[in-house]
């Protein structure tokens, strides 16, 4: 390879590195919609009949989240206790809440896996494919066979 070719290729790879870094550093802007609007759009055209909305006490009980700390929070859980399906959407008051949210959702996934792993492998599989998606001031946690659909609709709802 000639020195000129090496130099040109190096510029290309330098640009690729800058491009990859820029893509990762670019973050979505905050969404001003209400959490109820975002939730409605997230759950649109998906069969969610078995999901029941939970109150703040149940949010604290199951997820160790204090609802009063957030600008908005909506939590759905399957009415059948033998199912792992759940959906949570939060609107942060402050971006610094994201790290704690991630940690708590991981703890939830781990503890649910321990419960379902032994006797309900299909539910455990849903937990392996669980989605935790933080987008600026909004976050989604979904455990469902439709988790990816929820995530796509969640991201679309934030635009």
């Amino acid at each position: 390879m000639s020195k000129r070719t090496i130099t040109i290729l190096r510029y290309v790879f330098f640009a690729l590195i800058i491009g990859v870094l820029a893509m990762n550093l670019h973050q979505p802007a905050d969404c001003n919609k209400s959490v109820n609007t975002v939730t409605k759009q997230t759950m649109a055209s998906v069969n969610t009949k078995s999901l029941e909305q939970q109150n703040n006490q149940e949010i604290k009980r199951f997820l160790q989240l204090d609802a009063s700390m957030y600008d908005g929070i909506v939590y759905y859980k399957d009415s059948d206790t033998m199912k792992a399906d759940e959906l949570l959407i939060v609107k942060f008051k402050d971006h610094s809440q994201a790290e704690d949210f991630n940690d708590k959702m991981q703890t939830r996934i781990d503890s649910q896996k321990k419960i379902f792993a032994g006797y309900a492998p299909k539910e455990a599989d849903k937990l392996d494919a669980a989605v935790v998606d933080v987008r600026a001031n909004y976050a989604l946690y979904a455990v469902s066979k439709n988790a990816d659909t929820f995530d796509q609709q969640f991201r679309a709802a934030l635009k």
Binding site: K3, T7, I17, N24, H95, E99, A124
Partner: protein, 459 residues
């Protein structure tokens, strides 16, 4: 994909071994290994493969550019630019949120996923550039061989961080001796046993003691983590080195029974040896090492240990962990060296205590929590000397703890050698049976879903 998954043990590895055996030429084998390594790396996170490919291209071309330069100043510029870009990649993916929140206090959390093995393969690539710059190695003109060095699936996720000049001669043609391949398989099995039968059980014990506020609870918490991380990481390293051996690569051991060390300096010649060597060869010695004034020596030690701590994670606890060892290194160099060399039993106990406390910094989410646990070790802030649940855990796990203590020392290695020497063929049969039973038990644990991810994946 991880080494302790069924996919890897029963599909990926056997397929790779068969292909390696039947492919006709060294070149074909290398291409196959590179393709499989990329597949292995992309398995859980295809997007991370793009970064790996770009970093391979960048570093490969940087070394060629250095080799093509006649002017030493331009060569140095290319080298520095090469290193800086590697460090920028590492910095952005690993330290952005730490810098934003813990250094600049901006309370901003960016959604940046840390690619698996980033710290490990970037350090390998920095080693390559440094070896070419210093003249220890020639720049590679074979992209396949260079890609194999960086991405070989046996070491990309969690090391060992093999320096380029140590692996250079093995990248072309390799002879696979049947004895070596057998030893490799044995080492892989040993590592799997360490991980599945010991590390994962200590992980469960560690999690169970996390909430304890008693003195005994704090000690059991520290001891459980100390044993978990040793068996986890040394188990992984054994598996990595064993895999390498099966394909004709010879990598140096990464652990040498660190918990029998008689001083902190001795400990770091036995724990994560490849990382210690990397920092020694590429940071400590270029800074001047110990052949400088005392003031500069202290500066060099603190810089190296600061960087060692920072490498492990984006948190002040890791930095403090590193500086803690730096402080003990200086203490031993200036005050304790002679005393420790004459009082080895004291040295052993002192080292174990220093290391146990260090692990509490390592496993704590923040400095306050770390000091809280350390305080409870000596009764400060403890609710009681002992509590019922900790006593229950100790009673139910005493045998596991005993096994952990024994196997963290060189007892098993000496016992195996003694059995093989004394009983010859019968000894081989017995040891084979032990490894087979161990392997089957590991598979049972993996199938049962009772396994934890590797600890050092997080770095």
């Amino acid at each position: 994909m991880t080494f302790n998954s069924l996919n890897f043990i029963f599909m990926f590895l056997p397929a790779a071994l068969l292909l390696n055996h039947y492919l006709p030429s060294a070149r074909a084998k290398n291409i196959m290994l590179v393709v499989l390594s990329f597949l292995f790396y992309a398995w859980g996170d295809p997007a991370a493969l793009l970064l790996l490919l770009i970093s391979i291209g960048w570093n490969y071309l940087t070394a060629l550019q250095m080799a093509a330069e006649d002017d030493d100043r331009k060569k140095k510029h290319q080298f520095v630019l090469g290193i800086v870009m590697n460090l920028v990649i590492l910095g952005v993916f690993k330290y952005t949120n730490f810098i934003l929140n813990d250094v600049l206090f901006l309370h901003r959390q960016l959604d940046i996923a840390l690619p698996v093995g980033l710290s490990f393969f970037l350090f390998s690539e920095i080693s390559y550039l440094a070896d070419v710059y210093m003249g220890k190695s020639k720049a590679s003109h074979d992209l396949v061989e260079y890609s194999l060095y960086v991405s070989f699936f046996g070491k990309i996720s969690m090391g060992p961080i093999v320096q380029y000049h140590d692996m250079e001669d093995q990248l072309g043609e390799r002879t696979i001796d049947p004895y070596d391949a057998g030893q490799g398989a044995l080492l892989f099995t040993k590592g799997l046993i360490k991980k599945s039968l010991l590390a994962d059980q200590f992980a469960t014990l560690f999690a169970a003691t996390a909430g304890s506020t008693s003195v005994l609870g704090a000690w059991l918490y520290g001891a459980a983590y100390m044993l978990e991380i040793y068996f986890d990481f040394s188990g992984y390293s054994d598996m990595a080195i064993g895999i390498g051996q099966m394909f004709g690569f010879h990598m140096d051991p990464n652990f040498n029974h660190p918990y029998i060390a008689k001083s902190v300096q001795d400990y770091w010649r036995r724990w994560h040896i490849s990382l210690s060597r990397w920092f020694r060869d590429y940071l400590y010695i270029p800074l001047g090492g110990s052949r400088v004034s005392n003031r500069k020596y202290i500066r060099n030690i603190l810089i190296v240990w600061f960087c060692t701590g920072l490498w492990h994670g984006a948190n002040w606890t890791f930095i403090l962990w590193g500086l803690y060892f730096g402080a003990f290194t200086l203490l031993e160099k200036f005050y304790l060296k002679d005393f420790l060399s004459k009082h080895t039993k004291f040295g052993h106990i002192y080292t174990l205590l220093v290391v146990l406390v260090s692990w509490i910094f390592f496993c704590s989410p923040d400095i306050g929590t770390a000091f809280g646990v350390i305080g409870r070790l000596v009764g400060i802030g403890a609710s009681a000397w002992a509590d019922g649940s900790t006593a229950f855990l100790l009673l139910n796990n005493w045998f596991l703890l005993l096994l952990g203590v024994l196997f963290s020392m060189d007892i098993f290695k000496n016992l195996q050698t003694s059995i093989l020497n004394r009983y010859k063929k019968k000894g081989i049969t017995w040891m084979t049976a032990v490894y087979l039973v161990g392997f089957v038990l590991c598979i049972a644990f993996i199938v049962g879903g009772t396994f934890h991810p590797f600890q050092y994946f997080a770095f």
